[in-house]
Subunit: 435 residues, 2 copies
């Protein structure tokens, strides 16, 4: 079969854009032999034509004029690797409505304005693919949309942010939070302004996208309850280690009768659990469903060339399924309600610092019982004049735990704000805790 | 869009066939909403119409006559879940040549006669998909063929046989090989005749299929060097544990300048390596490539419903890409030579039992040196009148190790046949061994 010539345009020509172009240049023959497609970058939208680039584009390719891409009928598809919400959103909308398929790596755009974009794709009768928006080269979107499309995936557990995972594994090696963050910046794993990563917002956008695809119902960034790693201390990391667990920033999407719940928070993960072995800047996603039990995908969740490889795989998939109607549609085909805040259930680990006085344990226990939080394991350690209670609870709702903690933190004997982390384990609760 | 009506035939109606039919019945509405396809089983080929079935087919569906499927123009695709080489091979060949797309779960057929089948698919202009042939619901074929198609995957490490992995994890808990095998039979993880699993032949067929897809060059079962777990003793498992490693049956496919090498053998896997955490009947496959570094997929590698879900995902993918030419082609587009036997390099662990006499260590060391096997770590333990040498070597060729072991086993001081296992670790060799 003669190769399919695929003139491609890029929106953006930074690290990822240049990597896409380099990859296509260096592997053009291999890609053609393996896929029948010859992809070549004919236009790339940039702000500054003069800026130095990792892999310079051929003369005439760079342009500052979006119309040079939007109005060129030769361009068969467009990859958006410029990031940001505006004007990116309007650009993609225009392209899709004009029946140009688009590949995007933009997680925040999808998590915040996905509905618009997929409606435009349907209007234009073309595909919008987004593998690179979640965990770079880990092909979780393709797996969910195509391999597991007939499987009711009802739970996703993910370590989907490499920066925070690197920070937490550094803390396991003895670093304090500030030192670990500084090291992550030195190693290039954290941005100079690390807010999006350490606050959990990056992980939340990825979980929103995954939940949308898995549950077939729109989940936006606003629908995700998220918190980051800023409040994690070495006391938490050490307490986890004593129970043979590790602290990880875990995204969790759950579909139950009555609704869905998507959240990102630090969690204690049992060392025997597959997610506990994910170290450094790696990511992993565990998909649980009726027919498949569980499938875990692990790999590097970021990087220019890794992201570029996902972008190119999406391009090939679009060309390869063009004209079939297959996967033109938005993944959403129903509306599932969000579970009321706080209704999701989990076992928890609680760390409570109190004065070491008679009656204080009773008062703490009473507050837990009042919220139907059942204690599975409890140990108390003395610290100069005070005590730290370490509690593992049976399943309780997030809401009940929040309320109990607020009340306990308000007791006169409370020494600091009590904290709680959900516990992730495949063993029974009674097997967890201290030897 | 109106749903695409997809009349499907099954070759075989055993555990997997009945699971496919049940799954399609119970989830027909969900599948239609998510994919636009309405799949229904209209014919199933069986040997015995009267046999009792897990999920009985509708009246008139079962047939003993292959022509009722081959000659029915209404049937849009066929799933082969009957197993075996003959007559299965001829059936599939006929269907493909007649332009009926086929999905198969038959690893031995593909690994032994794949070239024929893919030629027939090309002749008929239809797809032959085979996700279920390797590790059931773990979507490694789709990931390799579609998500990583532009990535030069040059190394695959896999635990691709659940039976042997279950046996080895039981041996870690203290069982001897025979007990562990008996338990695997009781649990339904091993067949009454477990030869195909414990000999490594099942894993070898899967590795041949994976290597073919990843390297784009035909690798058949005959091209795979394989050995199983029958000679593993608790002495090996215990020695591994002392070095913080586990014994695993590992498939390894390697593409280097000059050729490929595909083999299956017991290996020592560092506990810090992702494959070491794969327990019980689970499978995992690590794919290493230039752009992706490494991606690991883990999940249940067998099971009726898991296999059925992979079969159905393949059906949906075929319907969804029909008429595009996409993936009609055989994954093979080149011919890579097989590396000469024994040329592949790896670090090794050697276990050598000798009489405890002066000079014996020197003679062993001399045999290793003669084959350019460089010792990284060595410890010697006494056992009633003899000694056991535990050696970790730097990288050496399989061939050199085989020759050295044969010579050492022939020394008058040798007490039993010396054994060697490749070592799989991401740490430096000097960090391995005994504390």
């Amino acid at each position: 079969m003669a190769p399919v010539d695929v003139p491609v345009a890029l929106l953006g020509y930074g690290t990822v854009g240049a990597a896409v172009n380099r990859f296509l240049h260096e592997n053009a023959d291999n890609i053609e032999r393996a896929t029948g497609h010859r992809l070549r970058v004919v236009r790339a939208l940039v702000r500054d034509l003069k800026k130095e680039r990792d892999f310079p584009a051929a003369p005439g390719v760079l342009t500052t004029d979006f119309a040079a891409i939007a109005d060129d009928p030769e361009i068969a598809l467009v990859a958006e690797v410029m990031g940001g919400i505006d004007p990116t959103h309007d650009y993609i909308l225009r392209l899709l409505r004009d029946s140009k398929p688009v590949v995007t790596a933009n997680k925040q755009l999808l998590a915040q304005r996905g509905a618009d974009l997929f409606a435009a794709a349907q209007e234009g009768g073309v595909q919008l693919r987004f593998e690179a928006s979640v965990c770079a080269a880990i092909p979780v979107i393709k797996v969910l949309r195509e391999a597991l499309v007939v499987t009711n995936v009802h739970r996703i557990l993910g370590i989907v942010n490499g920066t925070t995972n690197y920070i937490l594994t550094q803390m396991e090696l003895g670093a304090e939070y500030g030192e670990a963050l500084a090291e992550a910046k030195r190693q290039g794993y954290a941005e100079m302004d690390p807010t999006e990563d350490v606050s959990g917002a990056d992980a939340a956008a990825k979980m929103a996208i995954l939940a949308t695809v898995a549950f077939g119902s729109r989940v936006t960034l606003d629908d995700v309850n998220f918190e980051g790693v800023e409040r994690i201390t070495s006391a938490h990391v050490n307490a986890a280690r004593q129970m043979d667990m590790v602290v990880r920033l875990v995204g969790r999407a759950t579909l139950v009768e009555g609704g869905y719940d998507v959240r990102v928070s630090p969690a204690l993960v049992d060392c025997a659990h597959p997610l506990a072995g994910v170290e450094g800047a790696f990511n992993a996603i565990m998909l649980q469903g009726d027919a498949i039990r569980e499938i875990t995908l692990e790999g590097p969740g970021a990087g220019g060339i890794e992201t570029a490889s996902a972008v190119i795989a999406d391009m090939v998939s679009i060309i390869g399924t063009k004209g079939t109607g297959f996967l033109h549609d938005d993944a959403c085909w129903r509306t599932v309600d969000r579970l009321p805040a706080g209704e999701l259930r989990s076992p928890f680990y609680l760390q409570i610092a109190v004065d070491d006085r008679p009656g204080v344990l009773a008062r703490v226990a009473e507050r837990l019982a009042a919220h139907e939080i059942s204690v599975a394991r409890l140990v108390q350690f003395q610290t100069g004049g005070g005590a730290i209670l370490h509690v593992i609870s049976h399943e309780a709702t997030y809401g009940a735990v929040d309320e109990a903690l607020a009340e306990i933190s308000g007791l006169p004997e409370s020494r600091e704000i009590a904290v709680a982390f959900p516990v992730i384990s495949q063993r029974g609760i009674s097997e967890l805790g201290w030897a």
